[in-house]
Amino acid sequence: MAIGSLFIIAISAIFINNFVLIKFLGICPFMGVSKKLDSALGMGGAVIFVMTIASAVTWTVQRYVLDKHGLQYLQTIVFIVVIASLVQFIEMFLQKSIPDLYKALGIFLPLITTNCAILGVTIMNITEKYSFIGAVVNGLSAGIGFTLALVMMAGIREKLDLADIPAALKGVPITFITASLMSLAFMGFSGMKIG
């Protein structure tokens, strides 16, 4: 696959079809771990990591197991099972082999096991009929897009803590309003035409 089309996949996944702000997937961690910048970075790292590997593995499973036996309707359940065990496996592997990375990702790794954003990206890989490399790039970029949104949100929320907000809007409400404004801003990318 040409470098150009991979670039388009990447840009599209990071900005135009940003998983959080345009597709509204993974809202739970987006609200949950965006209070502090460093935990947002940790979560983002874990998501990038898992999305990339999950893309590669589920693409293979789809191509060589499901497609072969005509079992496309089992996609959701098979993907969930595969991703869940994959994350468990990665966790064990990291703890043994790369303890530093395990510490950095920490609690976030098991947290995103069954996140809809992960499942979303893997299913999107199939519906968009990406090649293997395309799927991996899509997973990686979707993770980067997720991290981008999360880190931006964390930065804004850290500032919001100091702002004078009306009592009724304090906490979650103002966060949702902020998220919707960010989402509107990202909608601007959808007018872009690449290629």
């Binding site: 079992l71 089992l74 099972v81 064990m92 592997f93 043994k96």
Partner: protein, 329 residues
């Protein structure tokens, strides 16, 4: 049929893979961490600077934290940890909290009638509380509530006193007090100024009978210049203080508390004496005496000069032969 088969086989394979992986990637945890954790107080007070007893245990085993880092555990815990790690414990001195106020709080609630919740931090928000003295204890016992070791006693006049037997020096009360009148100090220091008022002498007298009026008598009485009056308030530098109690003797408002003197009958310190038959003339007592009150040559019997002696009791503790004892009337 194929669906069930594929899903079943997939689940079986993944399960097997995970089971194998958990064996292959089994991480051995340092068993000493668990052992250290068991000897810790499990109060998770955070006085060591770590998130809790578990993370402190990990840090100690890795050598990142001091063996004596657990303040609540004190020297017993330090010794136990040292035993597990095969290291020597550095002596950790017992730390206790001291409340710098002994005012009659119940008699001083005259500023207004406070009807809010009984909590110092809440009372503090309302013009600094209803107690006349703006520097002293509020008497709503936030520190008593906060203390994880039940070491803060309510006094009969509405204030608080630290029970040094139970206190472990974790510092939770220090943070709980909105007036910031609680301080941590070494338990071996027996003399404290129990007042925090920075008002001028006359203003203090108007609201409180046992307040520091900044008369500086203590400053003059101190043999080692450990007590200083700054901003109308006497404060003891515990690093210099020898706990002689001279300041407490001269204080006109009796705001300086001498815990050592309180142990003597009549509340006055009486110098200890050296038993001639036990003294071997090792000079350890003379070297440790803060007021230079012990005389005697090497290998000869030593004597305490009652004029110079401040009855601090250091020599009684230091004598290797137990030859120094408190004078008995």
């Amino acid at each position: 049929m194929t669906a069930a088969l594929v899903l079943g086989i997939l689940g079986l394979l993944l399960g097997l893979a995970l089971a194998l992986a958990s064996k292959a990637f089994y991480v051995e945890k340092d068993e000493r961490i668990e052992k250290v954790e068991q000897v810790l107080p499990q109060a998770n007070c955070g006085a060591c600077g770590y998130a809790g007893c578990a993370s402190f245990a990990e840090a100690v085993v890795k050598g990142e934290a001091e063996i004596s880092g657990c303040i609540p555990g004190g020297s017993d815990t330090a010794a136990a940890i040292a035993g597990i790690l095969g290291k020597k414990a550095s002596q950790s001195e017992k730390i206790v909290a001291v409340v710098h106020c002994r005012g009659d709080i119940n008699a001083m609630r005259n500023r207004f009638e406070y009807q809010g919740i009984k909590d110092c931090n809440a009372a503090m928000l309302l013009h600094g509380g209803d107690v006349d003295c703006l520097y002293g204890c509020l008497g709503y016992y936030s520190c008593v509530e906060a203390c994880p070791f039940d070491a803060m006693d309510k006094t009969e006049n509405g204030g608080v006193r630290v029970n040094e037997e139970k206190c472990v020096g974790c510092g939770v009360c220090v943070d709980a007090c909105p007036k910031k009148i609680i301080e941590l100090k070494k338990a071996s220091k027996k003399v404290d100024v129990l007042c925090s008022s920075r008002d001028k002498g006359g203003d203090v007298m108007k609201v409180c009978k046992v307040g520091c009026i900044g008369c500086k008598k203590c400053e003059k009485a101190c043999p080692v210049d450990a007590i200083k009056v700054t901003g109308n308030l006497a404060r003891i530098d515990y690093d210099i203080c020898i706990s002689c109690g001279k300041c407490a003797e001269v204080c006109p408002t009796h705001v300086i508390d001498d815990k050592l003197a309180a142990l003597f009958p009549g509340g006055k310190r009486i110098p200890p004496v050296i038993e001639p038959e036990k003294c071997i003339g090792c000079t350890i007592c003379a070297k440790n005496c803060p007021s230079d009150a012990i005389r005697g040559k090497v290998k000869e019997i030593h004597e305490i000069d009652p004029e110079k002696c401040v009855a601090c009791g250091i020599c009684v503790e230091k004598c290797p032969k137990d030859a120094i004892r408190w004078h008995e009337e």
